[in-house]
Symmetry: D2
Subunit: 243 residues, 4 copies
Amino acid sequence: MIRVMIYNEYLHEQTEEKIRAIYPDGIHGQLKKALAADDLQIRTVTLQDLPQGLSKEVLDETDVLLWWGHMGHQKVPDETVDLVKQAVLDGMGMVFLHSGHHSKPFRALMGTSGNLTWREDGDRALVWTITPSHPIAQGIGRFILIDHEETYGEPFVVPEPEETVFITNYSGGEVFRSGMTWKRGNGKIFYFQPGHESFPIYYHPDVIKVIRNAIHWANPVCRTEITCPHVKKPLEGNADETV
Amino acid sequence: MIRVMIYNEYLHEQTEEKIRAIYPDGIHGQLKKALAADDLQIRTVTLQDLPQGLSKEVLDETDVLLWWGHMGHQKVPDETVDLVKQAVLDGMGMVFLHSGHHSKPFRALMGTSGNLTWREDGDRALVWTITPSHPIAQGIGRFILIDHEETYGEPFVVPEPEETVFITNYSGGEVFRSGMTWKRGNGKIFYFQPGHESFPIYYHPDVIKVIRNAIHWANPVCRTEITCPHVKKPLEGNADETV
Amino acid sequence: MIRVMIYNEYLHEQTEEKIRAIYPDGIHGQLKKALAADDLQIRTVTLQDLPQGLSKEVLDETDVLLWWGHMGHQKVPDETVDLVKQAVLDGMGMVFLHSGHHSKPFRALMGTSGNLTWREDGDRALVWTITPSHPIAQGIGRFILIDHEETYGEPFVVPEPEETVFITNYSGGEVFRSGMTWKRGNGKIFYFQPGHESFPIYYHPDVIKVIRNAIHWANPVCRTEITCPHVKKPLEGNADETV
Amino acid sequence: MIRVMIYNEYLHEQTEEKIRAIYPDGIHGQLKKALAADDLQIRTVTLQDLPQGLSKEVLDETDVLLWWGHMGHQKVPDETVDLVKQAVLDGMGMVFLHSGHHSKPFRALMGTSGNLTWREDGDRALVWTITPSHPIAQGIGRFILIDHEETYGEPFVVPEPEETVFITNYSGGEVFRSGMTWKRGNGKIFYFQPGHESFPIYYHPDVIKVIRNAIHWANPVCRTEITCPHVKKPLEGNADETV
């Protein structure tokens, strides 16, 4: 059983009728419903629940955290960012969705700005599988067709990824590294571009399949804090002993 | 002064009138002319000159080798492949162009097949700059527009690159990691997709600028064979001494 | 059930009394015995069985191939090397042990020489865990103590690894990146340094644990040949259709 | 001319007689003196000069920033950290020395804790060259011998580096990836372990040579802020135009 927490700021759906029509239960509600599976225990949390909703206790009981945010990025408390970063270093998996590229936790974990270029012309997107043997790409064909998506373009200011899993072709002409992985401490991180709030992208079976695969991939291999101990010589006394 | 050698198999230009019309002096002739600069000493060699044309002596006097091949890949002698691979391990830089993805030296250095998907529909290609601060991208804007190019698609079976410098969007819908770097031993390797023989791509100033930048980038920092010596303990006698 | 094949050239054990005393059933025999587990189906093959012993049919029924070779590297047939390389590109996992750094398949997959420096002084080796959250390091503490090992030193001529899992400190002063991973096509590769034939290293529980972990890690996520197809435009007809 | 700024917190040298005896002009003073060269313009700044001493204006006139800090890490103002991080993303090079692994700018750029293990037993350190062709390793032999150094041990909680240039063997048994590179945005980052304040390490010619090489390597290829613009379609109007 993987314990999944979905963070969605839940602002667009409450303030814009057009978005609410697509996601009447919020993006988190739709993701929870679409991802439902016997081996996943899924909870959700929104911006108004912070910081308590992502306290240390809650994060300790979270194996993989999904993050969807946009207009409320700056309202996320810094203490939440610090706790999320530490949980990832300890081993918690993390999946950043779409505009999450500009969220505070993403920037903090990448060490960059997360900047990119963008257009809102409802381009057709072809999300190409670059690494077919990656666990996150299993069950996906050569590409995922998304009829309309916000266009993200390069340069995307992130560290060179460990693996590039997907790259998107937009009909207007851009490319974007839309699926990439990194590791920070014990924790695995996946960024996945699809998911603009104006289009019903989280109803797309292949998009959901990728996110579900990512949850399984990011599920911690081990979870433990790596500290900075003052140690004895390795062969003197207990090798793991600290001074 | 960087000593550049351009290898072009020089077959299409001799057997197909349409190609000869574009490259009357061969692809190597055009590249030599377009790349000419005070700090580059440029020579050329073709398939019919092998193996002597790329002997150990010739490679020893080559700082950076460019490689364009296609229909004649299998005619390249294995001894040439071995010499080229060793020269790269010793420090020689290498720039593989277009269909060079299937050449014997490329496969030998990558350890993979170099496979990809392809179409010949004369798509419009936008070659996007992914890493604007890379030496190879200097002087290039957000993208290079190529009116007509053969389409290459993913998956491109190569090891995860050290740096992805360019990714191409084709008007038909594909993406392709069109500029990537790797290192093998002391030598630097750059692959660059543009350059189908049916289109006058090596007359495009930005394509030439990228190749020239790549020559400077791949110019060896040091050139020396790394052997497999039986050594003494590092602090006993001469540290560099072998048994 | 993971189908494991252990290749051991099986020469030292037959020609040197001292080695036979350590491995009376050969290194492959000891590895098979030590690795035995309910979820592993283990077979062995030696140099004298080649090329039939590693035919395409045999490799098709192998999920993960272990490779121990040394004095017989050059006797491995080139057709075996080609078949092994293709199997890895298709998805077969591979674990190279100790002097396998100089084997033909390792060099072919790395694209380098696999050179390093070496000493045979029976140094004490401390194999440090660099990436504690890697699946291959699970169950291993801060380091593995090996009382006596052949010393391997840097520079180790391999491509920059995807992950450095272990680095060894030798009492004589060297360091060596003793556990590294790469990917080639669909296949995962792990190199692990411990295992000189003169010392009973494959009786060490932690060494066996690492190899067992590596088998599980390298077990294919998917296995399929990635070819080089002439394709149709992605949105015309069947996206996966070739011309 | 490369404009170098050396940040040294300058606390140990003022509060501990033993340290002052080694570095009467401070670590920054010794580094400035030792690094002096015709093509370097070197300035220094200390903790008490912050935040003005590393204002945006000062950073704009800095090509490469060196950072030595230890007991004063927490006293570095957050605004300085933000300015330094942005300068790196824009292209400024950065060299973190020794205990700088725990500095705020290092943690912010890595996205990790920078944790490691440590001992103060004055071990002999052998700093091995892993990548002899790296620009930072030019002029360095197989290893640098440092008679006495603080011992740093793995795991070192940093993202997988782009290149591992040096790894150290300590006489007490540890290993440590002592020279690594990363890129963040347009900026290059090098971490170099040698330099404990209790030993005269910045008088060692090879240590100085590495730092000087790193300055040249980290000198910006280009320097420009990569923003997050709302763009037009690439082939409509000016490709670089924002909405």
